[in-house]
């Protein structure tokens, strides 16, 4: 589900880039907007202070139902990672940084099967962290901060505020809408996102999250390093909607938080700990999974990066060699997909020139992939997927004899093969041709 939200954001960008088509239209649109801004609903934030239980406002009811729908959708799409040990660990740290009124907020923590670095919270108290994030964090103190940050969004009712602010933004979005001849698409980016916040809300959540981590006994200087390891893309603007996107930029967030520590506004306990040793096995368990997910999302360059990082820790893992090899093979076999990733990573335009550039590297990609597959087989001679990779490369390079040998060896390895039909139809094609 949240993938869909991300798409809405990207769509927003797409429209922004393409919107200034004609001066007359813009003038007309601005003129129109001037007329409708007066009609924007005036938002009033419900008073959450005092002991008297408040009736939830219409906005709150809507947000809650939207959150519940989104949560159900994530479940339905198989995005919730079902791993009891990991979940109980995340829940334990969440409980440690949660404020006392935990019960009231009904906090629930989930891990998402997503290789992107992200975390988000719904006003219902559901907090989600991705495998991509967990695989990138360095220690427990950083996880404590992330969870504290997300809990702050829930506790401070940021979604509700953001929703009410968004109603003003929507009128602005109608401008782009009019430029699209009234197709009513441009405001969708604002309409369904539950977890997008303003800069001041992010700052507030950083402050509360850092204070919560300190209070729970974590080392705050270890937390501050989080921003150094988080930049996934080379161009952070590409990552709208991520907590490490450009709002506010990671640098200024890090600066703000450092000031809090220097000014003694956040003070850690004398017994403060980093929790590196407790975090290490958690991270180790997720590294392979993270590489696999990146590959499945066609993030070839990121797969290679993540596999190399993991290989520093586990130099004898055939699976990691296979993933790196497969990413290289796919860069050769799917230059369009590789170009799409590259343009996103480096903020370049996705065009024929870029695709051509990647196509030129085909042979070297296949050579590197072959080396990786062979290394995987040298570590585990029965590693079927490496045989599949070698067979597919041989097939692409026109070596049908080698292709048949490797692919038949792959098929003979047994029941766990998921793409038997594909490989068999490929083999049939090769045999028919000869």
């Amino acid at each position: 589900m949240f993938k869909d939200y991300m798409q809405y954001f990207v769509m927003g960008n797409y429209l922004n880039r393409n919107k200034l088509k004609g001066f007359a239209l813009i003038t007309a649109a601005l003129f129109f907007m001037a007329n409708v801004t007066g009609c924007a609903p005036q938002a009033t934030r419900p008073d959450s202070s005092g002991d008297v239980p408040q009736q939830p406002s219409e906005d709150e009811v809507k947000l809650i139902s939207e959150s519940e729908r989104a949560a159900a959708e994530m479940q339905r799409k198989g995005l919730l990672y079902d791993n009891d040990d990991l979940l109980s660990y995340v829940r334990e740290i969440g409980a440690r940084v949660a404020p006392n009124e935990t019960d009231k907020l009904k906090l629930q923590f989930y891990v998402i099967r997503d290789p992107m670095v992200n975390a988000f919270a719904f006003p219902t108290g559901h907090i989600y962290v991705t495998i991509g994030l967990l695989a990138k964090l360095q220690n427990e103190a950083q996880l404590a901060f992330i969870l504290g940050h997300e809990i702050a969004h829930v506790a401070q009712q940021h979604s509700l505020e953001a929703l009410q602010n968004r109603k003003a933004q929507v009128v602005a979005a109608h401008v782009a809408d009019l430029l699209l001849f009234g197709t009513s698409l441009a405001y969708l980016p604002f309409s369904v996102s539950i977890s997008s916040y303003s800069r001041s809300q992010e700052d507030e959540a950083d402050e509360v999250g850092l204070a919560a981590a300190a209070k729970a006994g974590y080392d705050v200087t270890a937390v501050l390093q989080i921003f150094d390891v988080m930049n996934e893309t080379k161009d952070t603007n590409a990552l709208k909607g991520s907590i490490f996107a450009d709002h506010p930029t990671n640098d200024s967030r890090q600066r703000n938080m450092r000031e809090l520590v220097e000014d003694k506004e956040v003070v850690q306990l004398a017994t403060a700990e980093i929790g590196e040793n407790r975090y290490a096995p958690i991270k180790a368990g997720l590294m392979q999974k993270n590489v696999e997910l990146k590959l499945r999302e066609k993030q070839y360059e990121l797969t290679i990066d993540a596999a190399e990082l993991a290989l520093q820790h586990y130099p004898d893992d055939p699976v990691l060699y296979y993933y790196r090899g497969e990413a290289r093979r796919l860069m050769g076999a799917d230059p369009k997909g590789a170009a799409r990733e590259h343009s996103w990573l480096y903020g370049k335009s996705f065009d024929a020139e870029l695709i051509l550039e990647i196509e030129k590297q085909r042979d070297s990609n296949f050579t590197d992939a072959t080396t990786d597959f062979r290394k995987a087989l040298s570590l585990d001679s029965k590693y079927a997927l490496a045989q599949r990779g070698l067979g597919l490369i041989a097939h692409t390079q026109g070596d049908s004899k080698a292709a048949v040998t490797f692919l038949e060896a792959y098929l003979s390895t047994g029941n766990s093969i998921k793409d038997g039909r594909y490989i068999r139809s490929l083999l049939k094609g090769i045999k028919d041709d000869n």
């Binding site: 198989g78 979005a173 969708l188 594909y422």
Partner: protein, 351 residues
């Protein structure tokens, strides 16, 4: 990552509608065919339908749009009945496996389905880089989504998988007013005024080779109303018959209701339908009769369903079915002119 670069289905389908409005029709088509499927060198006998992807949105002025989940569930149910039954009438066998049930029970399979949908989104953006192509070009599309289809094919033991995406919307009064104003304003600049639609729905159906993931056939359809039966049937009107099964089945030629019992009971239901929802009831009863090939009472029910506009969707669906009966000469003499008029009333500009 890939999908983030690809427009959301709903977005691009709506853009497609504009594209169609701008390019005009004629010998152009939204159908895409793999060359091997077009020339019958690739044969598909058994097909299985993947759970349809359904999105139905209530669009409001302040942008706080709402997904209508109950409506989505009922549309999904209709599609799961209508689409396989249409494939059946084109000579395809339908797999006995209920893929939707199997997938719902297994989170790993649910995740695989999500991956498959993403791969299809990328493929589809390639297929529909241009909304309409010349009839001759339509059989030259070699687009594949890869081996990810295999797991579902193994489950359903099918040669082909049917992928369905549906997007529908309904607009609030405030939004309608705003759009009328906006379009009047634009009309002043462009000289063309588009009457905004209050409802709309779009569908994309694809038949995928379950061995190698080739997209063999696909089509998209969008209409300015919501009627899931109509759109599900009309998007498939250009589906080629299964080449190995060219003779219409006995089921297609003979009335199912030989004793006339179904017709008699249902006509009674039709008569006692409650006034407040009666055109929908008439349509439903009419559809049951139609499926039982009891055409005379079915026609009567469809005609009654068109007389009130309480439920616009039911009205459109009824017009569409009447159109089909005239086109195919079911229970009446075939009459293309009348069929065309009825399709137009069903909101289909061309067929």
């Amino acid at each position: 990552m890939t999908t983030r670069r690809v427009l959301k289905f709903s977005t691009y389908v709506l853009l497609l509608v504009i594209g169609i409005a701008l390019t005009g029709c004629g010998t152009y088509t939204s159908v895409r065919k793999h060359p091997d499927f077009a020339d019958n060198s690739r044969i598909i006998n058994t097909v299985a339908m993947l759970p349809p992807e359904v999105e139905y949105v209530h669009l409001v002025f302040d942008g706080d749009n709402e997904r209508m989940t109950t409506k989505e569930a009922s549309i999904a149910k209709t599609l799961q009945e209508a689409i396989p039954s249409n494939f059946k009438s084109y000579g395809y066998e339908i797999s006995k496996t209920n893929l939707s049930e199997d997938i719902a029970k297994d989170t790993n399979l649910s995740y695989e389905l999500e991956q498959l949908r993403k791969a299809y989104t990328t493929a589809s953006s390639e297929l529909y880089e241009r909304a309409m192509v010349d009839e001759k070009e339509s059989a030259g599309f070699k687009v594949a989504i890869g081996p990810i289809v295999n797991q579902f094919a193994d489950l359903a033991d099918a040669d082909g998988l049917i992928m369905v995406r549906y997007f529908g919307f309904t607009k609030s009064d405030g939004l309608m007013t705003k759009e009328v104003v906006g379009n009047v304003l634009l009309a002043g600049l462009t000289g063309t005024y588009y009457q905004p639609a209050r409802n709309g729905s779009a569908i994309e159906v694809a038949l995928i080779d379950s061995n190698n993931g080739d997209v063999l056939w696909s089509n998209v359809k969008s209409v300015a109303f919501d009627g899931s039966y109509t759109i599900a049937s009309s998007v498939l009107t250009q589906l080629p018959r299964n080449a190995t099964n060219t003779a219409p089945s006995a089921e297609e030629t003979q009335p199912v209701d030989t004793s006339g019992k179904i017709a008699a009971t249902n006509l009674k239901d039709c008569e006692k339908a409650l006034p407040e929802n009666f055109n929908q009831t008439y349509f439903r009863v009419g559809k049951t009769l139609y499926d039982a090939r009891a055409f005379t009472p079915a026609k009567l029910c469809f005609e009654k369903a068109t007389t009130l506009d309480k439920d616009i969707a039911a009205q459109h669906d009824a017009y569409f079915h009447l159109g089909m009966m005239y086109e195919l000469g079911q229970g009446i003499e075939a009459d293309n002119e009348t069929a065309k008029q009825l399709y137009a009333k069903a909101g289909l500009l061309e067929k």
